[in-house]
């Protein structure tokens, strides 16, 4: 094992969730000496992604047992912000395990498995091809998150896919929502008259100022849409899909959401949304990487005990195993915060369902990354559904990963049951029972339910000097609230410093060192060679251009 951690830092950050990771990166970036530690063996906390065999082992972060050595400190962890209500179901048979063990090493298991019936063991053999998000996020192409990635140069650590279609549930079936101008005009779901109405309305929203909607100050967006004499179909598209709202959404919010949606259109793809390759759990890691590059010390799998206060009840440091590590400031993720720091916060919960299916909800020639905004049904909350295929790097070829999330009213299973029953079938036998749409429904192979704490309330801070508790995940589709909170905490800690200025590209960094003469000789030779190559390359490019 490696030696002990240093015992003195400017800043200790506990937990590798997104908000903590942004703060760690921002502090390292301005030269602070940062320790970023986590008790988990993986990055991301409640924002992490898991392989298929590891997700069923999550249990959130429960308080660690109060071991003898730690009576002196406030123990990390609390019960308010952990994952609960976990329920896993396999809808396929166990399958033959020996056959798979034989082939996993020598051959690509994918090829052997294709076109056969799926079993539990076949899916588990592909476990590492799954990157299953605890809380998947989409990014508005011109939203704060994307702009921050670009301006800070953290974008170089991640790749993205664009959401290729937005779906809604209308008249008992799935429909593609026309969201860009070309979509609107090529759509068969809207008449020519409707097309004009839709474009006009979107323009009105986009060009509007607050005063334009003064008469709707206390009214709903739905009321506004109705007054515009739009057809029922159009109201549905605009309210539930483009504004991602409900009948209760206020007019002001509705218009703001339409603007957010429209402003991000046309930058990277057919819809305003991006999704990070290999899952949302990559994003905290990108910030941690930047933080490490700027000198932060990273330590996962640490036995983090608690926060140490001095005689005057001021923050002093932490206990990590038997070692005390001091710092002038500390940032703690909500799920790791000692009970005393967060007992005043009442978390909301999201009901989550994750499913593996054998085909897309709405099959098409090419693989889609779909966002389905399911309007509220039977007095339930609306459900946000993301369906992703192998192109996202989150599931094997031939399968789909479906994420559902909704504000919790009862428990995840009951909250989502109606939607699951409407969209999927549970076993292959069902297919023949009824005619109609049933046979086209994707078959569920695996379901996983849990509830995840979210904190949409931004006021976490008790009056504790030098201790900063960050928010956990929230129910926003994008990361905007987390960025705001991270920035807020950073500015409180280091009021005169710039928040994540652009990191230099590697070639901009001048590396100090000795140069020996013989090296210079090689360097010169190499440069000449490179120039020659460059010229050759230019010629080729020119020739190609001329051909074109």
């Amino acid at each position: 094992m490696e030696g002990e951690l240093p015992s003195e830092f400017d800043l200790i950050v506990i937990g590798t969730g997104l908000t903590e990771s942004i703060i760690a990166a921002a502090a390292s970036r301005i030269g602070k000496n940062v320790l970023h530690a986590d008790s988990n063996s993986y990055y991301g906390g409640l924002w992490a992604s898991f392989t298929l065999d590891s997700i069923s082992k999550i249990s959130g972060s429960t308080p660690q047992s109060e071991s003898d050595a730690t009576k002196e400190c406030l123990t990390f962890g609390n019960n308010n912000f952990s994952i609960t209500n976990i329920k896993e179901e396999w809808h396929v048979s166990e399958g033959n395990i020996e056959k798979l063990n034989e082939c996993t090493i020598e051959d690509d298991p994918q090829q052997i498995i294709e076109n056969e019936n799926w079993t539990k063991n076949k899916l588990l053999a592909l476990s590492r091809k799954f990157n299953i998000d605890l809380l998947p996020k989409l990014h508005f192409a011109r939203g704060e998150f994307v702009e921050l990635l670009i301006s800070s140069n953290i974008a170089r650590y991640s790749e993205f896919r664009s959401v290729s279609r937005v779906l809604t549930w209308l008249n008992n079936k799935l429909e593609v929502v026309p969201c860009s101008r070309s979509d609107v005009f090529s759509s068969n779901n809207v008449t020519v008259v409707e097309k004009r109405m839709l474009m006009k309305l979107l323009n009105v929203c986009l060009d509007s100022t607050d005063q334009d909607f003064a008469e709707y100050e206390n009214k709903t967006f739905h009321a506004f849409l109705k007054d515009q004499k739009l057809t029922a179909n159009l109201i549905h598209y605009i309210l539930y899909a483009i504004a991602m709202g409900t009948e209760k959404t206020s007019c002001r919010d509705g218009v703001e959401r339409i603007k957010r949606f429209l402003n991000s259109l046309g930058r990277y793809g057919k819809t305003p949304f991006l999704y990070s390759m290999y899952g949302s759990g990559e994003i905290p890691q990108a910030f941690c990487r930047l933080s490490a590059v700027f000198g932060a010390t990273y330590a996962l799998s640490q036995s983090l005990q608690g926060v140490v206060m001095d005689d005057k009840n001021n923050y002093k440091g932490i206990m990590c195993g038997n070692q005390q590590i001091n710092s002038s400031k500390i940032v703690i993720g909500l799920d790791k915060a000692p009970k005393a720091f967060v007992d005043h916060i009442k978390p909301l919960r999201l009901s989550r369902g994750i499913f593996i299916t054998d085909r897309s909800l709405l099959e098409s020639e090419k693989e889609h990354l779909s966002l389905l905004l399911f309007p509220p049904m039977n007095d339930k909350n609306p459900v946000t559904i993301l369906e992703m295929g192998s192109l996202t790097g989150t599931c094997p070829k031939g399968l789909y990963l479906v994420h559902m999330m909704t504000d919790q009213s009862n428990n995840p299973y009951d909250d989502l049951k109606y939607y699951v029953d409407t969209l999927f079938t549970k076993s292959a036998e069902n297919v023949n029972i009824e005619g109609g749409d049933v046979e086209n429904r994707p078959q569920l192979l695996w379901s996983f339910y849990f509830s995840v704490p979210v904190s949409n309330d931004f006021n976490f801070q008790k009056d504790l000097p030098n201790i900063f508790v960050c928010s956990g995940p929230d129910s926003d589709l994008d990361y905007d609230p987390s960025i705001k909170i991270a920035k807020g905490i950073f500015e409180k800690m280091y009021p005169d410093s710039e928040f994540l200025p652009r990191a230099p590209d590697p070639e901009e960094i001048v590396i100090e060192g000795d140069e020996s003469n013989e090296n210079e000789e090689i360097l010169q030779k190499d440069l000449d060679e490179k120039c020659k190559q460059q010229n050759k390359q230019n010629e080729i490019t020119e020739a190609e251009n001329n051909e074109a």
Partner: protein
């Protein structure tokens, strides 16, 4: 004629702290060496254009940025690697012994298509220093037992064998890419935010 895509090879360098990973990179790319040991601030990945046979490829060499010190390299670091370089210090036996676990760690985390044939290259660094603890033969034997991993003895300080080693790394990484590229060539490229955003003419304005 098929258009030849610009080739970008991702190479990651693994090994215990202090074996000279950063120094090797700097010697190769910048022709510089510093005796001062420091977790290099701001060093992320270095890029260098290399010629392999008739092709010019861009090699992107990723440093661990110190995250290996407390076993905290996240899975994101390993994604999409075309070649993995394992470095040990020929004067420090423990750094050689840990090669096994670094190789295993890589195979688990990166989960390459074809783990048996994934290209590794092993570098025994600091051959300018005495006393030597790991003999050439011992290192070669280990490499042979792991499906004949190419082995180089280097000195980042003296610039010894560094060029040759990285040439071999580039060649191996390229063969790995040629091997897998057919599988994916029909797939659309992921979106990178660092490049100028492509314009979708029809959709460029919402209204």
């Amino acid at each position: 004629m098929a258009t030849r895509k610009k080739v970008l090879l991702k190479v990651i360098i693994l090994g215990e702290s202090g074996v000279g990973k950063t120094s090797l990179m700097n010697q190769y790319v910048n022709r510089k060496f510093s005796n001062q040991y420091k977790a290099t601030i701001g060093a992320d990945f270095l890029t260098k254009e290399v010629q392999v046979d008739d092709r010019i490829v861009t090699m992107q060499i990723w440093d661990t940025a110190g995250q290996e010190r407390f076993q905290s390299l996240g899975v994101a670091f390993y994604r999409g690697a075309d070649c993995c370089v394992l470095v040990f210090d020929v004067t420090a036996p423990n750094t050689f012994k840990s090669l096994d676990s670094w190789r295993d760690e890589f195979l688990v985390q990166a989960a390459p298509q074809d783990p048996e044939n994934f290209p590794f290259v092993v570098l025994g660094n600091k051959v300018d220093l005495e006393p030597r603890a790991i003999s050439t033969k011992r290192a070669q034997q280990w490499c042979q037992s792991k499906n004949n991993i190419p082995y180089f003895e280097t000195s980042a300080k003296e610039a010894l064998n560094v060029e040759q080693a990285f040439q071999s790394i580039a060649r191996n990484a390229l063969s790995q890419q040629n091997h897998t590229v057919d599988l994916y060539s029909e797939l659309p490229e992921p979106i990178s935010l660092t490049k100028t955003a492509p314009r979708n003419n029809g959709d460029s304005c919402a209204c």
